[in-house]
């Protein structure tokens, strides 16, 4: 395999992070597990949110994990892509909304 920063096999090693910090690792995985349980939001809805966020934070591990998770839950490709667009819209909106600052600054400095 070519040298790259990302190896798909590393995803399976995620639990190993606890080996170098057992207490914090355990707290994180407890929290993580709890977050994705059925709640006011269904586990299915949370899976779609996770998939959208995975794209926004550009995490290949998370995209891999939550595409698989979505398939397992019977989530369709159309639903997955809509979630990605929702994430992308917020991400691009966050960039664009700063345009307001640019415009204010531009107007303030301009005659």
């Amino acid at each position: 395999m070519d040298n790259t920063y990302y190896d798909p096999k590393d995803l399976k090693k995620f639990p190993k992070i606890s080996e170098w910090s057992e207490e914090l690792g355990a707290k994180f995985f407890d929290y993580y597990g709890k977050v994705f349980e059925e709640g006011a939001l269904s586990a299915r809805e949370k899976s779609l949110i996770a998939l959208a966020v995975a794209h926004v934070v550009k995490c290949p591990y998370c995209i891999d994990a939550y595409t698989q998770d979505g398939l397992q839950r019977g989530i369709t490709k159309e639903e997955m892509m809509e979630a990605v667009h929702a994430g992308a819209a917020i991400e691009s909106g966050a960039t664009l909304v700063h345009g307001v600052q640019m415009m204010k600054k531009y107007d303030k400095l301009s005659m």
Partner: protein, 351 residues
């Protein structure tokens, strides 16, 4: 998606020794992954032994009107193996004497066996508690001579268990063939119309969900909820239970795994998801599988791998429950499929 069976295509996976070679000497050969035998030995569950026989599963033939991409039977219109009336009579003799409460007819499409209706009538007289026919649904729509199957099932109080990989057309047709979804929906409506699947109805209609790809099924209960909502909202269809079944890496699903470069990852997923508490409830512990030609197997998957029971009694004609129950169940790496996650059997999750 091929429209022919592995056998018809003379694919090397149609030879069971080639499948067993890949299963046993593929990714397990370097010792990186434990064999199934090692894995169950760790929890003192080896050798796997049968419990009381509860289910007699009879495969009445490999002929089918569909050629599903995940089919572990390698069934299809080009398969001609069909159980004869003589073997059926031997099965009925056994049904009368065995303590098994469930008779489970499978195939192929069991309805395509020309003696199917006669067999159902004769077997139902034997007083089985739960008489299952595993119907692929589309057979009801396939030909005029099958259109009255819902009424026939109702007359004999047959428990209908039907395949349905998803509540959307795209996913269903991809796994089972073009047009399967629409025909399945029509068949489900006809079953509902005669009373099958309705709340409180004795006419049991259950669906079977196999994942359409190289991933494991999720929680059966939540999948059932989603299926029920979607089928009701979109088509007004009702059913009783959903059985989530893991695809086992044999036959056409093995072909798909290898061709799509998913074989290794899938086997890793199965091993990682190994659930020791599922072992004691796997279906081979309470089921005997009978092939179209009367041979006995620990399960339908062992039947397809031609791994006959490790017993003096190997054929329905010489059936002896006491002798048969004193045996070790034959296992191989495909057994990881039945012990992954919540476990998998023809009746769904086991853990």
């Amino acid at each position: 998606m091929s429209t022919q069976s592995l056998h018809k295509r003379k694919n090397k996976l149609s030879e069971t020794e080639n499948q067993l070679e890949i299963l046993s000497h593929g990714i397990f050969a370097n010792g990186e992954l434990p064999t199934f035998k090692q894995k169950i030995a760790e929890t003192n569950q080896f050798p796997l032994r049968p419990k009381k026989l509860e289910i007699l599963q009879i495969n009445v033939g490999y002929m089918c009107n569909q050629v599903c991409s995940h089919c572990h039977v390698d069934a299809g219109p080009d398969r001609k193996e069909i159980m004869t009336k003589e073997t059926m009579l031997q099965c009925i003799d056994v049904i009368k004497t065995t303590g098994a409460h469930t008779l489970d007819l499978t195939g192929g499409a069991p309805e395509m066996n020309p003696n199917f209706r006669w067999f159902v009538e004769e077997a139902s007289k034997a007083g089985v508690k739960d008489f299952i026919v595993r119907s692929n649904l589309t057979i009801i729509e396939a030909n005029k001579k099958y259109h009255d199957l819902p009424e026939f099932f109702k007359k004999h109080n047959v428990h209908v268990v039907s395949s349905m990989p998803h509540w959307t057309k795209g996913k269903t047709d991809k796994q089972r063939g073009e047009g399967v979804f629409n025909k399945s929906i029509e068949a489900l409506k006809k079953l509902n119309n005669v009373g099958y699947g309705m709340p409180g109805s004795d006419l049991k209609l259950d669906l079977v969900y196999n994942p359409a790809g190289a991933f494991l099924p999720t929680n059966q209960a939540s999948m059932e909820k989603d299926f029920k909502k979607a089928l009701m909202d979109d088509f007004g269809i009702q059913f009783h239970n959903l059985f989530a079944i893991t695809n086992l890496p044999i036959s056409r699903f093995l072909e798909y795994l290898i061709a799509s470069d998913n074989y290794e990852d899938y086997m890793y997923s199965l091993v990682e998801a190994f659930n020791p508490s599922a072992v004691s409830n796997v279906m081979c512990t309470n089921t005997i599988s009978v092939s179209w030609d009367g041979w006995l197997y620990d399960c339908d998957f062992n039947q397809m791998l031609e791994l006959k029971v490790a017993s003096k009694v190997k054929h329905i004609s010489e059936y002896n429950e006491a002798v048969l129950n004193d045996r070790d169940i034959i296992i191989s790496q495909h057994c990881y499929g039945c012990t992954a996650g919540s476990g998998s059997s023809c009746q769904g999750s086991v853990a």
